[in-house]
């Protein structure tokens, strides 16, 4: 086996996939911003992607906030900085953990569901049927999901931020002996708008990635049940990795300012 040829093949395949994803994304965005819009479908998807993800995201945020308060207390006690717990919890949640963990949880739930649904539509020729009924699949299937996920993820993360901070507050006041009033004061006093906004921008980007990966892998699935299964896995894995990469890029952009 020629090693160089193998490396070349892997790189070429990777570039080809990246190119196809890029073109798919461009096509999706073009159809998402140009009329006609399927408001009913966007609404239905917002319900499926956003509302039904609330329990998962809420629980994730609650326990993350709780554990964060504990860990930061242990760390800050080493140099007598216990009063920083509230501030660090809120910054950690809004800037980083709320959007990233929320995004990853929704990726597992929603990318998989989208890929499975669209993948099944592909292998049962339903997407071809859409075309023969003068309906563009990008407009009907991809655009509403891109919109719904991009709009609902920031809303979900806003809820997650609140619940996460409440988790920290719960541990801070019940277990670590902080005064309730001063914990809340410390939480709010040092929180800047940019902390929350950068988190929400991240969430919107993650939402876009989640819907895009679900749609892309669903659209390109082939070969019956097994193909749909593979598409589902690929969607979750690629969405999760892209979320982590995008997280760094967006953080870097905000950090530069």
């Amino acid at each position: 086996m020629n090693v160089l040829a193998l490396i070349g093949r892997v790189i070429l395949d990777g570039l080809e996939t990246a190119g196809r994803m890029g073109m798919f994304a461009g096509n999706g965005v073009r159809h998402a911003v140009l009329p006609p819009f399927y408001f009913r479908l966007i609404g239905r998807q917002m319900l499926a992607i956003g509302y039904f993800s609330l329990p998962v995201v809420g629980l994730t945020a609650l326990f993350t906030g709780m554990v964060l308060a504990l860990q930061i207390y242990i760390g800050s006690a080493r140099f007598n900085a216990e009063s920083a717990v509230a501030t660090i919890v809120v910054i950690g949640i809004t800037r980083e953990l709320g959007p990233v963990l929320g995004g990853l949880m929704v990726a597992g739930r929603v990318s998989a569901a989208i890929a499975a649904e669209i993948g099944t539509m592909r292998v049962t020729e339903q997407i071809d049927a859409l075309v023969t009924l003068s309906t563009n699949p990008f407009k009907y299937l991809v655009a509403p999901r891109l919109w719904a996920a991009t709009i609902t993820l920031p809303l979900l993360v806003l809820v997650a931020d609140t619940i996460g901070v409440m988790g920290g507050y719960l541990i801070g006041t019940q277990k670590l002996g902080f005064n309730a009033g001063s914990y809340l004061k410390n939480t709010l006093d040092f929180l800047e708008t940019a902390d929350v906004v950068s988190g929400l921008v991240k969430a919107a980007v993650f939402g876009f990635i989640i819907a895009l990966m679900g749609c892309y892998h669903g659209f390109h699935s082939k070969g019956g049940a097994q193909g749909v299964g593979r598409a589902t896995t690929d969607a979750v894995v690629s969405a999760s990795i892209l979320i982590l990469v995008a997280n760094y890029i967006v953080t870097e952009l905000f950090f530069a300012k």
């Binding site: 020729e125 071809d128 049927a129 859409l130 075309v131 009924l133 309906t135």
Partner: protein, 258 residues
């Protein structure tokens, strides 16, 4: 002077990787005619239909609908072209997130922006034409039997009163009686609309019933085209073997014999 054929295919070629599927197809379908393409599994029948619809891009060749080249058509021009078509898919391909009547009305509501209430009326009327009552319209496709799904798919294909209808293996997977019911419905619907029909099948009973002319596809080429009454004396060994369903003959299936 002869009229322009409804569908005119010239030199259509398509290969997937190293596998040559269509090797230069020339075929005309006249206005109002029902042409059936027969051929074994994997002979390129479905690919031919999908090339005409633009679902698959051919490697070479020309496809004209009403004299207009459609290969490579995009955007609005393509939507306009697709409006002339209805298609019955092999697996029915009903949208399982929608009710039966919404499936039938889909092309009217989404493709032609008809108000929902009016589209529903048309849908129920089309369902009645294929022998299904209004109560079926409220069900979801998953609750229907295979034969009913096919009939709903037929109602959907004819709902927008297309000029051209494609039937992809309309009787596959149905019992012989339901298959004959579908055949009758196809003949009726096509006649009523005065539509041009292009079907693919390997069910000879179906082909004899719905075809005006039959074309046989073998190894990516059309080896015989003629009126349905001539199929029994085609003088073509391949055609004879196929219509009588004999394992022995010039067509060798790629099966390893023990």
């Amino acid at each position: 002077m002869t009229a322009t054929p409804k569908i005119s295919i010239r030199g259509l070629r398509k290969s997937f990787g190293s596998k040559l599927v269509l090797d230069g197809i020339d075929l005309d379908v006249e206005r109002g005619e029902s042409l059936v393409i027969i051929g074994g599994s994997g002979s390129g029948k479905s690919v031919t239909l999908k090339c005409v619809l633009g679902l698959i891009r051919p490697d070479a060749g020309s496809i004209r609908i009403d004299g207009t080249e459609v290969v490579g058509l995009r955007g609005d021009a393509r939507d306009e072209m697709l409006r002339k078509f209805g298609m019955l898919f092999q697996g029915a391909a009903l949208f399982d997130s929608l009710k039966v009547w919404e499936n039938v009305a889909f092309g009217l509501i989404e493709g032609r922006h008809m108000p929902r209430a009016k589209a529903r009326e048309v849908a129920l009327q089309k369902l009645a034409q294929v022998g299904l009552g209004a109560e079926v319209g409220e069900l979801s496709p998953a609750e229907l039997s295979g034969g009913m799904q096919k009939r709903v798919a037929l109602a959907r294909a004819i709902a927008a009163e297309p000029e051209i209808i494609f039937f992809d293996e309309p009787t596959t997977g149905l019992d012989p009686i339901m298959a004959d019911v579908i055949n009758d419905l196809i003949v009726q619907c096509v006649k009523r609309l005065g539509a041009t029909a292009l079907s693919i099948t390997h069910d000879m009973a179906s082909a004899r019933k719905i075809a005006d002319r039959i074309a046989m596809l073998y190894k990516g080429r059309l080896i015989w085209v003629g009126p349905v009454k001539d199929i029994d004396h085609s003088q073509n060994a391949h055609v004879d073997q196929f219509i009588h369903g004999r394992a022995e003959g010039p067509i060798q299936m790629e099966v390893l014999r023990p």
